[in-house]
Structures are given as structure tokens and as C-alpha cells.
Amino acid sequence: MSASTSAERLSRMLALVPWLLAHDGVRIEEAAEHFQVTPEQLEKDLWLLIVCGLPGYGPDQLVDIDFWDDGRIHVIDAQTLDRPLRLSSEEAMSLLLGLRLLEQVPGVHDRTAIITAAAKLSSAVDLPDGETAVSAQPPINEAISAAIATAITLHADLMITYASGTSDQVTERRVSPRQVVLADGRAYLEAFCSLAGAQRTFRMDRIMDVRAATGAALDPDQVVVHQAPSTALLAVEPGSAWIIDVLGAEIVGEATGDRILVRLDFADPRWLIRLALSRGGQIEVLEPASARAGVADAAAAALRAYAEV
């Protein structure tokens, strides 16, 4: 058994006994599900616990748990394990950060409970309950998000005006909103889209307008279509190197003139061409050749408007 597995198991068993005390008579299956192990593993843990205890290891010194009568677990003697171990810094911080972000979710039903839970947890782990500046609130239009929240609650369809970041086209589409996800400073609407005929994710900040949709609701039982990504090779000047982080590109080497050679996955060549355009030459598309030619053509087409004046 590896070191990490025995540490994990020990950690679980230390937490198991106080939890069982608080949930007297719980079924083995329920406890196993709660601790994310199989019922067989949980039973092994229980068998191990009842042979452990204080040195001497006589009947009065061992942990005593009854779990064979009816599949329900009763702790009879926990010895010194009746209280849970304090939360590790990681355990406490992951919960506190989660609470802090939950607090910023629009329309969250009980903000007070989130704040008091964080305060209690902080005091239990000896942390000052000071104001912690954590912000993951994406910029979203309140009127639009309120309309979407209402539509989700009522299972109603909406007409949205969406500014596509890929094609730069403004489109009207009918959607059945499912959920708004706030993740790492971004907000997405997950919805079934009539235009795509499939489940789609929309960036909330690109939804320009919403209106109630009339008529029957959309049929959401459709297949999700994923476009297979292609890979581009780009030469990027330091002034545009931020795209490496933001777009999750991969540095593969150096290019001429102080530039970085970058590999980037993309789904739609129109988007890749516009990305290159927007950087005014700081990003050179090397591959694929079709996208490279596409940039030259798009730039020439745009120049034509200016030549006429």
C-alpha cells in the first residue's frame, strides 16, 4: 500500500468515527456513499477500527462499533476519537473561498447564511474573520441576468440577440435557458439553442438583448455537436504575448525578430483570422496556410473601403 493511500485511509477513518457518532444508526451503504468509497471498503475500515485502541488492547481499550446486526452502524465506544480533527489549512481555505464566491452569485437565496457560515468556520479554525478581498464577479448586465433567471425558473424560452465572438455577427436565436455558470471571472449561459439545434454555451457579456419567446417550448432532447479543433502555428510579438495565457496556447519555440512560436487550438477559422486582424500584425499566422491566406484576403478587403474615399 502506498504512503498516500494509507494517509488517505487514515484521514478518512479519523473523520469516520465522529461522523458515525453524529449519524447513529446510519446504513453502511449511506456512510460509504458519503465518504465516496465502496460499501466493501467502508466495512474494511470498520473491521480495522475495532481492533485499534489504547495500548494494552483489552476489550475496554478498543474502539467498539456494532455494524453486523442489521447493516446499521452504532458506535458504542469511540475511545478518544469522538471529536473530528481540526480542518487542515487547505480544507478550510477551499471551503472559505467557495463561500466567498457563492456570496457573489446574483440572486443567491440566503446571503446571510453564507456570511455567518464563513464567520463560524473562520473562528473554528482560528482565522481572523477579516474582510478578504476576493472577487470573481464577472461584469454582467443586471436586467439581462434577471430576465434569464426568471426564464430558468419558469422553464420559459427566450429570444436572445447574441454577438458571436467567433463570426463577429449579430444573430437572433431562440433558446431554452438551463443555468448560468459563474466560473473564474466569466459568466456563461447554458441553454438549448434553436439555431444550432443543440446544447450551447453563451457568454453572458455577449448577450446584447433578451425578449420573451412566444409559442411552444423547444425540444431539448437533441445531440450535442462538438466541432473538432484544428491547430494553428503563430509567431507572436511580446506585445501580444498575453494571448498565450488567455487563450491557453502553448509555447513551442522562438521565431524570427524576438517573437515567440505558439501553438493554438481553434474550432473556427473565421475566429482565428479575426484574432490575427485585431492584433494588427503582432500575431502572424504561419499555419494553416488557408488561414494565413485568409488574413491577407481579409486585410485587403478591409483596405478597399478606405481606398475609395
Binding site: 487514515l10 480542518l87 487547505e90 481555505m93 464566491l101 486582424l277 494588427g280
Partner: protein
Amino acid sequence: MAAPRIDRTERLLNLVFALMGSGQPVSRASIAASIPGYDPAAGQAAFERMFERDKDELRGLGIPIRTVLDVNGDVSGYTIDRDAYALPEISFTASERSALALAASAWQNALVRSSAAAGLRKLESESGSADLQGESPAFVARIDTGEASLLSLLGFLRSRQSVTFDYKSPQSNSVATRHVDPWGLIAQDGGWYVVGHDRDRDATRAFRLSRMRSEPRAAGAVLHPAPAGVDLRSLIDPGTRGGDHATASVRVAAGGAAGLRRLSTDLLPADTAGILHVSGPTPESLLSSVLFAGDDAEVHEPTELREAVIASLTRLRDLHAQATS
């Protein structure tokens, strides 16, 4: 017949019981003699190695093993104080339990998720489990990042500690050690940043967590706290939030230039071509937005922007018309 093999978990568990049981320090000799799994026949050196490893592992789990010294300063034994070990009495309301359960489930990264779940289970020993029945909420919070430094930075932020870390500059490939008084953690557009006072540059800076090349380490108390009332978001990217400092009038094509239309308050229907008044934080960001629209946009005013667009498009065309080297 050989002695039955004792499972390592069993040995560790019995060690916890032994050290927490009596309230008295337990000597190494007594540990070696009484706890099953420390093979007395294996010799002193083997015991020492095993015991050191076990002690480190328990401390790694957060179990507070205290080393007790005698009057001569020699180690007389080890003990676990129950008060230091046990989570204090804590009671959560049903709403607070639901909030904690939702907070734990926000994490998408498997490692942090299991940490949060383990913490939640400890709290649930005190107050019972959350009842998360019912419909899923319209809005949910999710944490996609797996940056381990997020949690340690949150700890340093709360304890008002300064931090150092190795950081890869966004402009070059060079890595340097930075020293920062942290003011806050900000998520923007999929990335996490720590904002604060950069001690080396003596200026306000934002550092992207994905560019850190070492775990952040504590480096004394914060000397430069955040100015009162400062908007941390405005510090990380003045470009996106600093107001509208550049304006232009642009002719846009019907149905196109979606990005530019978002920069305008004009009521021009999406399917209609026309002149739009757009505003952006900087001339550079406006230039970029106009270029993104390609031939769906033509700048009328100001002349500087119009000329910058022509120069950029000419460069783009010439650059991409050549054969690749």
C-alpha cells in the same frame, strides 16, 4: 510462524490513540514496545526510521504531535493534546450547511474538491449533513482553476502576510523572485490574479497565478496595506474598467461588427448598416476592436485612428501575403 503483517494504517491509528490517550508524554521505547507493527526484532535503527516517517505523515495530516523535553533538554516523549487536535464545538444552521455544501461542490479540480469534501465531512460530524434536495439554482458558482497557490495565497491574505514567489514575466521567458504585499485575489476572464504592492518595483502590480513558478512563501508582515476604498478590479486591467477614454465614429455593415456594436449606446438595429459612435478605454483597444471587425467596419473619425487602421491592415496584408520562412 512469522508474526502477522500489521497494516500501516493500523499502526498509524494506534499511534494516534496511544499519544492522545493518556495525556502523558509517551517515550520512544514505550512506543516501540507496545504498538503493533513496530517490529521489536528489526532493531533500533529500523524502528527510528519507521517512527520518524510515521510522525511526519501524521503531522502532514495536521495532527498536532508535541515533542516533550525533559529538564536536560532531551526528548522524553511525544503527546497529542486533545484540545489542539479536536475541532472546537461548532454548530451550523440548515441554511449554513447548504451553503457549505454548495461551496465545496464549486471546485472542479479533483484534488481541491476532495480537500473541500473532507473539510465538509468534519463539519458535518458536528451539525449533521446538508439537505440539498430540490431544483438546481438558476445561477451557480464554479471554480475551474486548479492553481494550488490560490489556497495558500488566500491564507496569507487573511493572516496579512507578505509573500515571495518565482514569477515568469509575461513579456519574456525570464523567471525572477518577486516580493509582494497581497491586497486581494481577483478572477477575470478565466484567470486568477493576486493584486498588491510589489516591494521590488515599489508599485501596485497584478500577478497571474498561472505564471508563478514556485509555491508562494510567507515573508513577514505586510508593510503596504491596500489603500482604503480601492477598487482592486480597476487595478488589474485599467483597459477594461477604467472608463471610456477614446471615441470614434465607425460605419458598420448590416448584421456584422458585433464587437463594435457592443461598444456603442446607439440604437442601431443589428440588421441595419450605419454610423455608430463607439467608445473604448484606450485608442489601442478601439483600434483592435475595429480591426477585429475586418471589412464590416470603416473608421470615419478621428483621423489618427483611421490612419492607424490603414497602416495595420497594410502590414497584415503584406505580412501574410509572403511565403512563410
